[in-house]
Amino acid sequence: MGTTELFVHPALAFIAAALILPFLPKGPRKVFLLLPPLIAIYTTFHNTPGTHLTINWLGQTLTLGRLDALSSIFVQVFAVISLAGLIFALHINDPAQHIAAMFYVAGSFGVVLAGDYLTVFIFWEMMAVGSTFLVLLNRTRESIRASFRYFLFHIFGGLFLLAGLILRYRALGTFEFTTALSFGLPFEGSTYDWLILIGFCVNAAVVPFHAWLPDAYPRGTVTGSVFMCAFTTKTAVYVLMRGFYGWDILAGAGAIMAVYGVLYASMENNTRRILSYHIVSQVGYMVAGIGVGTAMTLNGAAAHAYAHILYKGLLFMTTGAVLYSTGTTKLDELGGLAGRLPWVMLLYMIAALSISGFPIFNGFISKTMTIAGAAEAHQTWIALGLELAAVGTFISVGLKLPYFTFWGGKPLDMKRELKPIPVNMYAGMAILATFCIAQGLYPDLLYRYLPFPMTEANKNIFIPWTIWNVLQALMLLGFSGAAFYLMKDVITPHKALNLDFDWFYRLAGHGGMALLFKPCAWFDNIWTTVYQTVGLKLINFSAHFTTFFDRWIIDGLVDNTAYSVGGTGRVLAILQSGRLQQYLALMVIFITIVMALVWYLC
């Protein structure tokens, strides 16, 4: 007898919870909310690796549970962030937000555990719908419009994925989700590979498909954006790792993303938009690592995805807490909050130093691995671009954002009304802060789960805690700090909207509408003219004819029948005089006429 295999799909727990939630009263609902993430964490450590839940549907074999070294690390971090995110959102009394989050998280688990493209697509769309509601449910005019744009863009990305997987099925006869290289195809890939890649790149926010992210995430609900920053881009990183590692184009695209996001973040005024641009930047590190495609850079991408989910979740939680408390995310309206929101500032700084790759925090052990891996693979320019992005990251997230929110510029203002932050929000933040520090101090907490074993035998060793690595990080960040100090007056944020690629999306949208509307308007004009000149006259003629027919034919028939009946009645009335002699005389005349006729005819 072998060991008993166990596999519980974490998505099932979230979907079931989402269906039950609306029927629960407020109290039990809060306890029940934490059940799915706890089940997910349990399954992370107890599910048996292998292929599970294969079902036949419409003649296809769908694999819902492919658990291996790559998928399990993503399942694990998704379970952790879903628990922290739901604790952070525990005070929300809007079940719709929880339901949207549950479906969104379920979709992410579904994608990561999918063994075929069809299953990927189904859960991919589930994520798009769930996350759209997390923006929509902020219930402002701004967020409703943003959610619509977000949904349209993800449908656009989803259509690329769908077209790619259908063409791939026609060419290969299978939906199996394997790497694009494993079929022995040319390195450049086929048309369907490119279509699938574009679909994935939309969700990974690869420049120029990234502008949906800084458009939508800052407009999500306080708690919803915490989920969004963790799942969409990271599931895309997972599918890129699974399907497209080693594609050179991704290495360059990743480096561009890393620098591009940083440049935009350094000019932004909205805290959550700064962080959104830093998602683009940080996912750039992962995409670059996937593009370089060595064991170390892939490990680096996975490690950075894990670390990023934790510190980015914490960044969105802390800026969300500031928004919850003050009602704004605009740096020019914030300032001087250190004294009144000290714990939020402290927790924010843990996340900010993590994203900056400061020693003792988890960014230090993950970011350096990707950069070192790229450099060792002789991708010097990619590695330099990533180092430059690290400078910009520390300046905007590590210094600019906290300086203008908590520290400088404004005196202590006790008159400013601050809404008290619920304990559960602090608890959610504290959980993630603990993880950020624990992984930074003890890298094996993260490294042991990486997809490629880190052993001397396969020359895949990376030790972050060396004197040089620490000194290099301190020099890079310290002198970036000096640059901020010297340029503080220049980088002071102010109100502005910065044009990005969404200008082109909107142009394309307006162009599409014009293409649709102009022929319709032209046809409508012609039709109106035809209708006015011919149609109306026809209708007038028809009306006149109908009137004539009604008056002279219908009415005439009815009226004349009436007149005839009336006339006959009058004649009969005259004949019915009631005098017997007249009746007898008429009878004699009648009989005489009949007899005459009979005589004549015979």
């Binding site: 005019r141 701004e142 419009r145 940083v262 440049l263 350094s266 000019m267 020019d332 309206e333 001087g336 250190a338 004294g339 009144r340 929101l341 000290p342 714990w343 500032m345 070192a372 450099a375 060792e376 010097t380 590695a383 180092e387 430059l388 400078v391 910009g392 300046i395 908590f406 400088g408 510029g409 404004k410 005196p411 202590l412 006790m414 004197i467 040089w468 000194l471 290099q472 301190l474 020099m475 890079l476 960040l477 310290g478 002198f479 970036s480 700090g481 000096a482 640059a483 901020f484 100090y485 010297l486 340029m487 220049v490 980088i491 109100k495 502005a496 909207l497 910065n498 044009l499 909107r506």
Partner: protein, 117 residues
């Protein structure tokens, strides 16, 4: 006054007063950590922080004379002070380019440019 001037968005950024040292009565209402942070962020304390920053930077540069990478990634990073120059110059050039050229001349529009708000 022209219409254009009237439509200019008003900034809510208030100028830092001459002396922004917190009032003791206000400080007393803060938590222990809040109190400490508030005292340390006062403009009078900025000299202390500046000395600490530049002291640490000097220390890192001295250490860089003795510690080098075993396997330089880029060649030039084997030389001392490469990373201090990279961080400082990279940061200053980036901030200058973005805030003085790219944003004001190419990208900045009014906040409600798309009519979303």
């Amino acid at each position: 006054m022209s219409d254009k001037q009237i439509k200019e968005p008003k900034t809510t950024l208030t100028a830092l007063p001459e002396s922004s040292a917190p009032v003791e009565a206000d400080l007393a209402t803060l938590s222990l950590l809040g109190h400490w942070l508030e005292k340390n962020r006062a403009p009078e304390q900025s000299c202390k922080w500046r000395t600490l920053l530049f002291g640490l930077l000097g220390l890192f540069m001295i250490l860089n004379l003795f510690f080098h990478p075993h396997e330089p990634h880029f060649g030039v990073d084997a030389y001392p002070f490469f990373w201090p120059v990279f961080g400082l110059a990279g940061g200053i050039i980036m901030i200058f380019l973005v805030k003085k050229i790219i944003q004001p001349y190419f990208l900045a529009r009014s906040e409600n440019y798309y009519g979303d708000n």
